[in-house]
Symmetry: C2
Subunit: 175 residues, 2 copies
Amino acid sequence: MERIIIDMDEVIADPMGAMVTWYEENHPQKVNFDNIKEGSWVRGFPEQHRQLVLDKLHGPGFFRDLPVMEDAVDVLKEMNTRYEIFIVSAAVEFPNSLKEKHDWLLEYFPYFTWRQLVLCGDKRMISGDYMIDDHLKNLVHFKGKQLLYTAFHNREVEGYTRLNNWKEAADLFLK
Amino acid sequence: MERIIIDMDEVIADPMGAMVTWYEENHPQKVNFDNIKEGSWVRGFPEQHRQLVLDKLHGPGFFRDLPVMEDAVDVLKEMNTRYEIFIVSAAVEFPNSLKEKHDWLLEYFPYFTWRQLVLCGDKRMISGDYMIDDHLKNLVHFKGKQLLYTAFHNREVEGYTRLNNWKEAADLFLK
């Protein structure tokens, strides 16, 4: 069975979307998507509020209720029967998020088990046949097939095979 | 730089020792070390109290204050300058322990960073040059050199290169 390594944030969960919604409901300013470059979507928020955004990201509760990326639940349910799937999140930077990410995954993707979750700081020791991730820093160390999941911060990156959404993942892995 | 994957429980931390101490301080019965076979040291505790032991293991606080294995702090401090070290713990089974393990590691081994911690359910996707672990179920999938760290539950296992303590690790990796 081929092994697929799948990132969590910006790939199956939508922290940027949740943060934008929360921010724009609570502030008159708007997020500037043009400022979001490779590395972090935090730069899209007005400079005077970036610390506020970081505090919310590191604080309790933020990762527990994130929206799920469209079609991820249905497509991964089928992929999970045909591939060895691991959900690998570089979450140790946010220690408050660790249990929340466990609880979130098992609530929204009940067909996964705790055995399929990996919470790490760095992904360079992770091996598999495919890696789906929105960050080049994770993909570059991976020896299997690298698949860049499209996110605002990586939209100018060239030279990678992309997955733009989970329907495209279904086309690649389930046909 | 060669990469060494190092387990946490029974290798750098001592949950069995902590549990035995707690149990024998609170109960007239003794732990029977002869009952501890490959798989789990929980079997060493009297049958009528195994659920109690499991509840303590899964509950809050247990992993935050574990004793450190002898010489691990000093030997790993030097190894950390010569090798790429990752501490990999199959801890996702115990979601309450995830943040505790992060906090414990960075307190007792302050030269490690959050980037070096991996919390997973299963270790089969972890790659490196060496793996030091007390469980065969983790070592068998590993493609690098497998090193069995001696623990009560694995003392009858044959056919593996053993590390019996951290002084032996220093002999192997630092000479």
